[in-house]
């Protein structure tokens, strides 16, 4: 595990970004896609550009995901990827960037929550985001994550009303993942017009850094978000390039985003 000055890799990364007035780049990749070998190469390529890496555990019923990540998920499952396989992949890739494990709850439940927290901590995973475990849904699980060395990453949606924000962010650690628009994951040509208000609303409720995702697909969009938020999540657009044009193209795509952020 990387040496850290606090007990959270994510706090350190976002703190350093803030000092350098830089927006964080948070790529998402589905573990095991497009092939087991290329998945590891893709993680390493993303590692060079990323400030935080989100690694998605494939699940048979990705109900929060749009067509791109669904397709990647089904490919990854066909390649034999599993939750233990994802942990192995992360360990083998020897990444320098803090990793957030991005997963639906059932694979974690079957693996064992405590066992996962232990095994993920052992290989240096920094955070856990459970797509279908909103705040308050399963307090025992939430407490277990908070009590571990992994940060509990919370999602906030455009539909999260002001009255729920406090609850939705209760016990949030590391950073907040703000969903830019209603809907499932997927690239979009336009960003939500009310994003600025959404970010401001979340800012008032938390001091944690805010990363914005869902639908970000171009350097221009990334730069626009960087002006409002602390970080940009690039998921479907990256998975799309990786699936269509391969690892090298995915790396170039991320460097273009990186350049846009650094110019912003």
């Amino acid at each position: 595990m990387a040496t850290t000055s606090s007990d959270s890799q994510l706090t350190d990364v976002w703190g350093a970004l803030r000092q350098r007035r830089r927006a964080g780049l948070v790529p998402y990749l589905t573990a095991g896609f497009p092939t087991l070998a290329e998945s590891q190469d893709a993680l390493r390529a993303a590692d060079e550009q990323a400030d935080v890496l989100e690694v998605g555990v494939p699940f048979s019923d990705p109900l929060a995901d749009g067509p791109t990540i669904q397709a990647a998920t089904f490919r990854a499952l066909a390649n034999g990827m599993t939750l233990p396989g994802t942990l192995q992949l992360i360990a083998d890739a020897r990444l320098t960037t803090p990793v957030v494990l991005f997963t639906y709850f059932n694979p974690v439940l079957q693996y064992g929550v405590d066992r996962l927290l232990r095994d993920a901590a052992d290989i240096g995973v920094a955070g856990l985001l459970l797509t279908d475990l909103p705040s308050g849904a399963d307090p025992a699980v939430e407490r277990a994550v908070q009590g571990s060395s992994l940060d509990l990453i919370r999602l906030v949606a455009p539909t999260t009303p002001p009255a729920r924000l406090e609850c939705a962010l209760a016990g949030a650690e590391g950073f907040v993942y703000l969903i830019a628009r209603l809907g499932v994951t997927g690239a979009s040509t336009s960003l939500a017009t009310d994003l600025e208000a959404s970010v401001a609303r979340v800012r008032r409720a938390t001091t944690l850094p805010i990363a914005v995702g869902f639908g970000v697909s171009t350097p221009a969009q990334a730069r626009a978000i960087a002006a409002l938020a602390d970080g940009v999540v690039i998921g479907s657009a990256l998975v799309d390039v990786l699936g269509r044009d391969g690892v090298a193209a995915a790396g170039r795509f991320l460097s273009a985003i990186r350049a846009a952020l650094d110019a912003g």
Binding site: F59, S60, D61, P62, L63, A64, D65, G66, Q70, F74, L77, T82, L83, P84, Y104, F105, N106, P107, V108, L109, Q110, Y111, T131, D132, L133, P134, S135, A137, D138, R154, L155, V156, A157, P158, T159, T160, P161, R164, A168, I179, L182, G183, V184
Partner: protein, 402 residues
């Protein structure tokens, strides 16, 4: 005869049945579920809501549904069999009871767009029917495989003004139709209500759908008492997601002497792995927003279900069934495709009733050799739907098995 609908006592605490149920959904849906819970809890204790509901059940559905003797099936089974005739409901199954209740709620919320998932198509037809009556937009998600095996119901939905969206992802059946409906809901939640068709999904759906279906059990209990002067010895219903069963059982949960039996689909046989016998062969996990028994592999990936009956072809089951299973209050059995096909034909010949293939599973269990019932004992069957939709499919399946 008009029966007052008294809701059975609530069995869920904080949205859970024991450890099952809950609300495992993306954050985007939490606010909508909070709103729905608030609205439903208010409606549940509002007599005006239930009056409107029952007026519609009478006018649109033709309730109360009748209780029929089944003399020749009784001879075969060795007990007095009574049939709760949900097959005689308008649209041909119990699904309309729930669709009407939820459409009323959608109207109270001011939501003009309705989405639904459907397997056999019965829930889709029921939803399309009430949307036509209320003038609401209706979109039904249906697995591509089910679109093919339930062509008649697809056309019925279209006639009723609904848009049927074939779902091509994953297993192309009810499970993935539900995923796609949830994706639509996440995207359009401010304007759209999702009418889930069974006692599955996040809280409040399992208890809300149960309440709307409990009209089956409340009516049946009163009708059996009136007819026979006693409670039935056994109550039998088929279980996919389990809405007709939970609605029927809700009327009898307090009657400890009444044995409750749920019948799942064993498909090609539990040993083959191609089945939908979630309670008989699954283990607890989280799918579609709630904790319940599931068919899944060691890694927590959901395994494809199989049944000759599209309505039972689902790898999960309602969380209240999981709880009743663990508590031992309901006994669950599994019946395979061949037994169900035999019972489908048997029921037609013995009673002049073509049952839904789903219901045929429950009939098949009744006709198995049993610890002796007596002719004085009553066995109550929830005849959850009629089989017109299945005739072509059965003709093909029987031909293949012969």
């Amino acid at each position: 005869m008009s029966l007052p609908h008294v809701l059975p006592p609530e069995t869920a605490i904080g949205g859970r049945f024991g450890p099952y149920g809950g609300r495992y959904v993306p954050e985007t849906l939490v606010a909508a579920l909070d709103d729905l819970i608030e609205l439903y809890d208010a409606a549940r204790s509002d007599p005006a809501f239930w009056t409107e509901y029952h007026d519609l059940l009478r006018d649109v559905v033709g309730r109360p549904s009748c209780l029929s003797e089944a003399p020749r099936l009784s001879d075969r089974v060795g007990a007095r069999v009574l049939l709760k005739r949900e097959d005689l409901n308008h649209t041909g199954a119990h699904k309309i009871n729930n669709a009407i209740g939820q459409a009323l709620l959608a109207r109270r919320m001011g939501k003009r767009r309705i989405i639904a998932e459907t397997g056999a198509g019965q829930h889709g037809v029921a939803t399309a029917t009430i949307c036509a009556r209320f003038g609401l937009e209706c979109v039904v998600y249906m697995g591509e495989e089910d679109v093919a095996r339930q062509a008649l119901n697809v056309y019925r939905m279209q006639l009723l003004g609904a848009t049927v969206v074939p779902v091509t992802s994953g297993t192309r059946t009810l499970k993935d139709a539900t995923n796609e409906a949830l994706r639509d809901w996440v995207t359009n939640v401010p304007t759209t209500h999702y009418i889930i068709g069974s006692v599955v999904g996040p809280d409040p759906f399992p208890r809300m759908v149960r309440d709307f279906q409990s009209v089956i059990g409340v009516e049946a209990r009163a009708q059996v008492l009136e007819r026979t002067g006693a409670l039935p010895a056994t109550v039998v219903a088929c279980v996919g997601g389990g809405s007709n069963a939970i609605g029927m059982f809700a009327g009898f949960l307090q009657d400890d002497a009444v044995a409750l039996v749920g019948v799942e689909a064993a498909g090609e046989g539990i040993a083959t792995g191609h089945h939908s016998a979630t309670l008989s062969a699954g283990r607890p996990g989280v799918l579609h927003g709630s904790m319940s028994y599931l068919l899944q592999d060691a890694d927590g990936q959901i395994r494809p279900a199989h049944s000759v009956s599209a309505g039972l072809d689902y790898p999960g089951v309602g969380p209240e069934h999981s709880w009743l299973h663990d508590a031992g209050r309901v006994t669950y059995h599994a019946v395979d495709d061949r037994e169900a096909l035999d019972a489908f034909q048997l029921m037609a010949r013995l009673e002049g009733i073509i049952p839904a293939l789903e219901t045929a599973h429950a009939i098949a269990w009744m006709t198995r050799p049993h610890p002796p019932w007596t002719r004085e004992q009553t066995v109550l069957l929830c005849l959850s739907g009629r089989g017109d939709k299945d005739v072509a499919h059965v003709a093909a399946a029987v031909g293949k098995l012969a």
